[in-house]
Structures are given as structure tokens and as C-alpha cells.
Symmetry: C2
Subunit: 350 residues, 2 copies
């Protein structure tokens, strides 16, 4: 088992990564609490209820995917915790993908004005979402617009959960693995592309996942509330979220398309050939990402969604993370007119 | 105008109290923000839309009373803020009684994972609720079970708002004024009883309100997250909340009955005549509090509600604040059996 600790001034937590570590590691956390309540993704429950989580009684089940992140599902989740007699001295253990993690973490944050919780990510993507204390549900105006910063007490990433993950979910989760490689170094990207040239297999990715976790932890420890460098984790996400919202495709797929757009715009802004766009287009397509969606984007609708993004503070620009010639991310405001032009130019280039 | 500042290590805020201070004081706050959104209690809006708040365009109105604190009303409130294009750099100004303050503050806390807000209390009770950063909505399992700690950036208490407050609301708000006097000193209680011997008038209470604000600020600055002394502010509230929930009477009325029960139990626990129960019964009745409800309490139902209280951590006791012979509040756990007996004994004594 590998362990990483956040580096906040206080209230730090550990991220445990390994195989078959769930029960033993959890025990270490639960001992200090009066009682433990479980929130479990319905699919994870179906797969593991006779094995690794068989000791869990009366879990609160969440519906698969974004259905867990509606206002109604969320309020029901909170009511279910209260129904089970949750106290301030209880521990909530949230077991599932990013959606369950987001809704469950937010529920722990507002129930009784905040109870402690543990994240147990079960998808590839959730190596990312389970770390950093961001929790959220969706609004009719956009994704993740309602939520809280609420640090988990610990994160237990048992890679054995990934064995039952369907292929599309591996593909989706890989979007964030790829993003973390981009934020890490040019070398990390090359290594990752080599590892996945023949397709993505979770078991080939363990080193890259661990590197990804470290990259994520670095940024969230540096800037918990996203007033500065944490924004860089948004690489690919501003347009990615808009695409996800419009086309209802998985988060990581949308992020990957967003990363491609980021590369396109970065090349144009820095007037360089930093990214080999053709190679990337081929690589992403071969892996199975729906690159054809990029050819159908309606720039004005995309802009409308992007302007709803929490990170945006001004009316006539869109905040965007790009990468410079030194392979470093930077934040910039792109005028709305220019952004429309970039999206059009990208469509034509494909 | 009087001004008081919290004494946290950082992020302190000022409570401004005075007559006709709303607009000028607000200006001082709004200048630093990109835009300002208003959440206004529907009754306050009806009373003041042609005068002191006439400059406010497109406010989000909240329904009067606890109707503002249902899950549905709350989610609609958040969606309305998003609908109006709220950004992280926006300021939310919440104008109304404790219910609007609680729902509005909680909405500010979770919209975009938190935006700044100002409390503008307009009821007598809200001299209390607007201070301390506790926000909440109600659950089907009890009051205020879903919420957040979210400090306002400032509190503007313009006493002119109180002029339109209906009598029952004055009576309700007085419950917290009385509680603060109890927490303040025996002298403060005597003074307050003298001031109100002939009935409660808001204009006679200004000094007591200001003392109440200082008492509240002392406790919330000392112990923001209620791990210690802040619990004392719960004087009268454990049973009070249960009564409020069961009988649907105003918060302050229920608190006053809860304070009477506290006096009854304190006298019994300390085996003293600290409180003159008969005099208090007469005084509360004369002012118009529904003391007769105390004679109808179902101890077992009351216990059930009390056990749902956030402050309770154990199954066979109820956490309760009492007062000792030195007129100091203290926290104690009362066994459930004993509590049932106390409620029965109090019923018989009335
Ligand atoms: N909080 C953050 O910082 C953050 C960061 C990135 C993404 N997110 C959020 O994460 C969500 C996406 O997360 P996700 O991709 O994990 O999606 P998800 O949680 O919807 O899970 C994807 C699917 O896999 C199933 N599943 C989960 N674990 C499984 C397992 N071990 N075996 C079989 N099936 C399993 C789920 O039931 C679901 O059907 C989005 O809502 C996104 O907004 C949050
Ligand atoms: N957050 C805290 O620390 C805290 C502390 C105590 C109470 N509370 C909460 O406060 C709430 C009770 O507050 P409240 O007693 O102010 O009730 P309220 O907000 O329901 O207001 C009472 C009534 O007065 C009306 N009103 C408000 N201002 C008015 C004005 N100036 N003129 C005429 N009418 C006006 C309202 O529309 C409502 O009908 C409860 O929900 C309670 O849980 C919170």
C-alpha cells in the first residue's frame, strides 16, 4: 500500500492506494466514531455485496451516475442519513465513483451542518474526484454549481474495485489521468501515451494513477479554495463541462475533447507547435473518444454554458487554462468573440 | 450607530446596529463586488418596497416563515440565484427574519460552493439568528438539521425595520432577548423584567437587544463550531425545538417555554430555589406566551424529537443546558428516563 498525505497547515488527511486494502484501512478510521453510516453506489453494491462490502448493513444506495447528483436525489440522500439517526459523532463512508463521491461528500457536509466522511473511490476517474474536498450536485443551470468544500478524513483507493468497471468508464476515467500527466510533465505524457498505445487497461496504469494522485494533491494542498493555482486542474474542463452538459457524454470523454481544444487554442495563442494536433487527434480517436463531436459544436451555445462556469467572473470573457511553450499551465481570459472564432477554427481543422 | 466586531483569529465581521442605517452601511460593503443579488422576505418586501429598499431590482423573494426553509423552497432559492447569473465575485444580501436569514445564508453557502453574503435582520428574533454564521433549513426529521457554518461579511441591523413587525413576532423575538439576558447576568434579567412589566415594546428594548448581540457575539467568537461554550446559546432550545416542531408555534414562543422547563429542571438538579418558578410562570403568561402547552406535553414524543437534536451524541441521554447556583450555564447529559420524569413533574406542578 502507498500512502500520501496532504500538506495543509492542519487537518491533513491521508490517501491510501493499493490492492485489497479497503477493510483493514477502514477499520483504522472507524474506531474513533460512535457509529458509521455507508453511502454506496448501486452498481458497486451489486458487484461487491457478497464479498468485500458484505459486512455493511443498511447502506444508503445512490443511483448510478449523474442521477445521484440531482437536487431531489440529494435531498433524499440527506434525509436517509437522518432517518438512520446520524449524529455529529458519526462517520460517513462514501463508496462509489465520482458522482456518488460528490453527492455523498456534499451530504456529509450539510447534514447536521457537517459530519466527518471518508471517500472510497471505485472508478478510475475517482482517483481525481475523491481528493481535494470539492463536493457538489448539479443545477438546472449547469454541472456542480451547488456544493461545498468539505475535506474527507481519509481516502481509501482500493484498486481491486476497478476490476468490475465497464470499459466506457475506464475510458472516461482516463481523461483525468491524461490531464494529470499534462500537468505533470511532457515526459509523463509521452510515457502514458506509450503505455496506452494498444488501448487502455487499468492494470497498466497504476504508476500513472499514483502520479496523478500526487499531482492532484500538490495543487489542492497549495490552493484549497481555488483562488490561484488549483484552477490549473481545470485544464480541459471549461469547454469539457459545456460539452458534457450539451451532449450528455461521460465526464472524462468530455474532458478529453476539452483537452484537445485546449491544445488547439494553446498552439494558436503561443503561435507554436507545442502540441502535435494530428497525432493527438489520431491517438484520442483510436482510444475511442468521440472526437467527431468537436465537429458539431455550436460555438454560441458552448459559450453560454462556459459563461455559467463558477470560475468565470466577467461578462465578456471566458476564463481558460492553456499551456505555454515551457509546458506550464497558465490562466487567461479569452474574449467571447475570440473564443467563438477559436471553436469555429477548430471545427474547420478537423 | 453602534458597531461590534467579532473576535475570530481572522475573517472578522462587523455588526452594525442603529436607526435608518441600512442603505448607507450597505454601500460600504457592495462597492467591492462585481454585482449584488438580493434575497428578501416577501413581507419585508411588501412593507418597504416603496421606501427603504426601493432601489432593489429583481430581488429573489422568500416565502414568509418556515415555508422558506423547506428543501423545495431552498433549492428554488439557489436556482433563482443561478438564474440571475450569480458569480463567485457576487455579493448576496439577505433581508428578512431568521427564516429568510437561515435559508438565504445557506443558499449563499452552497451556491458555487460559497459566495459572500450580508445579513440584514428585520425581526427582533433575528438580532440573534443573523449573528454567528449558522445557516440551515429543515428536514422531515427535525428543524435546522441541514445547513452550514458560513460567516456573513457583515450584519446590518436597522431597527427601523422593526416598526412594521406584528405583535406575535415581537413576542417570539423576545424569547431570545430573554435568553441572552439569562446568559448575561441575574441583573440583566431583573432589568429586562422591569422594562417589560407592562408588555413588550421594541422601542423599550434597544439596550437589551444590544446587550443580547454582545452576549451572542461573545459565545460565537469563542467557539464557532459549537464544540464547547457555544452550546450555552442552546439554553431553552433542546425542549424548545421539540415543542416548536410538535405544536408548530413560533420559535421564540417555544424557546420561552423551553426556558421555563430549563428553570424547573435547574431548580431540581441544584436542589435550590434559584428561579422563582411561580413568578416566571405569571410573567410569561401575562406577556402572552402559551404556557398551557406545557401542561399537554407528551414526554415520550418530546424525548423522541430531542434525541434528533444535532447536539446529541448518545442514545440513552439528552444533552441539556442548565443553570447553576452561581447563575452560570452548564452542559449536562440527562438520562432519558429522568427526562421523562422531569417533564411529567413539571406538568403536574403547573
Ligand atoms: N469533486 C471533484 O473534484 C470532481 C473531479 C472530477 C469529476 N468529478 C465528478 O465525478 C463524476 C464522474 O465520476 P465517475 O466517472 O466516477 O462517474 P460515476 O460516479 O457516475 O460512475 C460511473 C459508472 O460506474 C459505476 N461504477 C462505479 N464504480 C464501479 C465499479 N467498481 N464497478 C462497476 N461499476 C462501477 C457507477 O455506478 C456508474 O454507473 C462527475 O459527476 C464529475 O462532476 C468531481
Ligand atoms: N441561525 C441561527 O443561529 C438561528 C438562531 C435562532 C433562530 N433561528 C431561526 O430563525 C427562524 C425564526 O426567525 P423569525 O422569528 O425572525 O421568523 P421569520 O423569519 O419567520 O419572520 C417572522 C414573520 O415576520 C415577517 N417579517 C419579517 N420581518 C418583518 C418586518 N420588518 N415587518 C413585518 N413583518 C416582518 C416574516 O415574513 C414572517 O412572517 C427560525 O427558523 C429559527 O430556526 C436561527
Amino acid at each position: 500500500m502507498k500512502e500520501f498525505k496532504t500538506t495543509y497547515p492542519d487537518e491533513n488527511y491521508t490517501v491510501h492506494v493499493g490492492h485489497g486494502i479497503f477493510n483493514e484501512t477502514l477499520q483504522y478510521y472507524t474506531s474513533g466514531y460512535d457509529d458509521v453510516l455507508y453511502i454506496v453506489d448501486e452498481n458497486v453494491h451489486a458487484h461487491f455485496k457478497h464479498t468485500v462490502i458484505k459486512h455493511i448493513k443498511a447502506p444508503v444506495l445512490t443511483r448510478s451516475g449523474e442521477a445521484a447528483k440531482t437536487a431531489e436525489a440529494f435531498m433524499q440522500l440527506v434525509e436517509s442519513l437522518l432517518e438512520r439517526g446520524i449524529k455529529r459523532s458519526s462517520l460517513v463512508v462514501v463508496i462509489g465513483g465520482g458522482a456518488t463521491g460528490d453527492a455523498g461528500g456534499f451530504a456529509a457536509s450539510v447534514t447536521l451542518r457537517g459530519v466527518d466522511f471518508i471517500q472510497v473511490p471505485t472508478t478510475l476517474l475517482a482517483h481525481d474526484s475523491a481528493i481535494g474536498g470539492k463536493t457538489a450536485i448539479n443545477s438546472s443551470h449547469g454541472k456542480n454549481l451547488i456544493g461545498a468544500f468539505h475535506r474527507p478524513r481519509g481516502v481509501i483507493y482500493d484498486l481491486d474495485f476497478l476490476t468490475t468497471l465497464p470499459e466506457p468508464e475506464i475510458l472516461s476515467g482516463f481523461g483525468e489521468v491524461y490531464k494529470h500527466a499534462l500537468l505533470n510533465s511532457e515526459k509523463a505524457v509521452t510515457v502514458l501515451m506509450d503505455r496506452t498505445a494498444g488501448g487502455i487497461k487499468a492494470e497498466d496504469l497504476e504508476d500513472s494513477i499514483i502520479e496523478g494522485i500526487r499531482t492532484k494533491m500538490y495543487y489542492v494542498s497549495e490552493d484549497e479554495f481555488e483562488s490561484g493555482s488549483r484552477k490549473f486542474l481545470n485544464l480541459g474542463h471549461t469547454l469539457g463541462h459545456a460539452i458534457e452538459y450539451e451532449y450528455k457524454i461521460p465526464h472524462g470523454h468530455a474532458v478529453m475533447l476539452g483537452l484537445y481544444a485546449m491544445m488547439f487554442i494553446s498552439n494558436n495563442e503561443t503561435d507554436s507547435g507545442l502540441f502535435d494536433l494530428e497525432a493527438h487527434q489520431r491517438y484520442f480517436s483510436n482510444l475511442g473518444y468521440p472526437m467527431e463531436i468537436l465537429e458539431t459544436l455550436d460555438p454560441v451555445r458552448m459559450l453560454k454554458y462556459m459563461k455559467h462556469d463558477k470560475k468565470n467572473t466577467s461578462d465578456d470573457t471566458v476564463g481558460f487554462i492553456l499551456m505555454n511553450n515551457d509546458f506550464q499551465p497558465y490562466f487567461t481570459e479569452i474574449g467571447t468573440g475570440k473564443m467563438v472564432k477559436y471553436i469555429r477554427a477548430m471545427k474547420e481543422s478537423l
